[in-house]
């Protein structure tokens, strides 16, 4: 089989509250990706639309977006795996291209939570877990990650100070990213000063500074087979490895809370398919919806041994100059987390890095990159490895 390449990427600015409809929001990413790839709508053979469900009012948004993008009569559909919807869409686009059904497939992810009321969004969050066995206890995403943080701290001695270091790195790079929602740098003072909002408890041991914020945003990634990728693009970035796995929705079905088993499994698959090892990765985007999520990713992806993730951030080895730069675009913690757009934004960052177009945060001579995108608390996990060659 031939290779599959990424030939265009686009992203809207991530903002608290977008001043337009979902189709207008998604168009910002769509038009940027189409211009990046220098394509017109007739070059797109199919589209896939990704978002988390019920955070806006339009049912079956894929048809509405495809029409607004001018992509009729090409097929489209909606794909969802919570916060990992974007990379699930790209995985399916890879398979549509590699199977021979299509030459060029466009994947657009979006989220616009700002148009539903706060009460509506609280109600929907309550239905993100297993509604039969866990929602009746009053669960929320921060609490699920907090269960894992508690276990990691107890088992390995990880501290709130370690977690704060991850947020400080995020803020450093978020300040350089003109598409990020939060662009202010932070110092440790924000995490030790009891007056600071970042120390407000959310779900113990996690505090406000450990949590990402909702955002409105959109992303777009265009995938093509080898022939089209070479014809359309000067610098196609190739999909070298794909891994995808799940874990039980119910916490009662899990054996260990100090890591995400689905991320470990997805990572293994991706490394195997790409025939590379963790040490070969030059730059990574990991799913840092919470600081503990990034720390677990270091260990689950093999950048550090289990329990040694804290040492990696303490030594600043995940900064752009370190041995394994992670989230040097600011990550979800600074960019914001427009759920369906998140995976595509991560892939965009790695594509720009591998092309050498990442600006201030460019990692020198990056040739192999990794994307780690998680849905729920490791319910879904996608790992993707991209390369210049």
């Amino acid at each position: 089989m031939g290779k599959v390449g990424i030939i265009g990427v686009g992203q809207s600015r991530f903002v608290r509250s977008f001043r337009g409809s979902i189709r207008e929001l998604a168009f910002e990413a769509f038009s940027e990706a189409m211009q990046d790839a220098a394509l017109s709508t007739k070059d797109i053979n199919a589209s896939i639309i990704c978002s988390a469900p019920e955070y806006d009012k339009q049912r079956s948004p894929s048809a509405v977006l495809a029409e607004y993008f001018g992509l009729n009569p090409q097929p489209t559909c909606y794909v969802e795996s919570l916060c990992s919807s974007g990379t699930t869409g790209i995985r399916l686009a890879y398979s549509l291209v590699q199977s021979g059904l299509h030459d060029v497939v466009l994947v657009a992810g979006f989220q616009k939570m700002s148009e539903i009321t706060s009460a509506e969004s609280q109600e929907r969050m309550g239905r993100g877990a297993d509604i039969q066995w866990e929602a009746p206890f009053g669960t929320m995403m921060p609490a699920y990650y907090a269960l894992h943080a508690q276990a990691h701290m107890t088992r390995y001695g990880t501290t709130l100070y370690d977690l704060a270091q991850i947020r400080i790195k995020s803020a450093h790079y978020g300040a350089q990213n003109d598409k990020a929602m939060i662009r202010q740098t932070l110092t440790m003072d924000a995490f030790v000063n009891p007056e600071s909002k970042f120390t407000n408890p959310i779900a113990s041991p996690l505090r406000m500074g450990d949590c990402c914020a909702n955002a409105d945003g959109a992303s777009c990634v265009i995938v093509a087979n080898e022939e089209k990728a070479k014809a359309f693009s000067r610098k196609p970035i190739w999909i070298l490895g794909l891994g995808s796995a799940t874990a039980s929705v119910n916490m009662a079905g899990r054996n260990d809370f100090s890591g995400l088993a689905a991320a470990v499994e997805a990572g293994k698959q991706a490394y195997h398919m790409a025939r590379v090892e963790p040490k070969d990765i030059d730059v990574a985007e990991v799913h840092d919806c919470f600081t503990i999520a990034e720390l677990m990713a270091y260990e689950n992806l093999g950048f550090a041994k289990p329990g040694e993730g804290a040492a990696l951030i303490r030594a600043k080895e995940t900064y752009a100059e370190g041995i394994i730069p992670v989230n040097v675009d600011g990550g979800l913690l600074s960019k914001g987390h427009p759920i369906g757009a998140t995976g595509g934004s991560q892939v965009r960052t790695i594509v720009l890095q591998l092309r050498g177009e990442a600006g201030a945060a460019q990692v020198e001579d990056a040739s192999i990159g990794l994307v780690h995108n998680i849905g729920g608390v490791g319910i879904y996990a996608n790992v993707m490895i991209l390369g210049r060659e």
Binding site: I131, P136, G138, M140, P205, N250, A252
Partner: protein, 144 residues
Amino acid sequence: MGEKEIDNRFSRFGTVSFTSITKVNDFINYLEQGKIMGTRCKTCGERFFPPRADCCKSLDGNMEWLEVTGYGILQTFSTLYYAPAGFETDLPYTIAVVDFGSCKVFGQLDPAIDAKSLQIGMKLKIAVHKLNEKQLIYRFQEVQ
């Protein structure tokens, strides 16, 4: 399992239940009797908690009920300071996973336990709690 025309007993589970109809509605009757029950597949012997009506190994629904008893070990926990709709007045409350050996159970902690005294690895037991005249739940309690 149920025999009424519309058997919506499961709407009585927890503070807010989005589920009302399930083949394991009898779980609620056991809660009323003070029992927290899982199921076991009579075909292959596999134990399930939460209880299921169907066995994914045997591909059938030949189940019997089995009580969760004894002491469990605290696996992990978190105290919430923000809550989804319907739980605002319960704040703060603590959720936890407890391992009873033959199964693990997810639930809330008895608010009488001081969250500061919690340690992963400590022993806890489980008991049914009536939230009001209609709603039932189970909670983890201290072992004296």
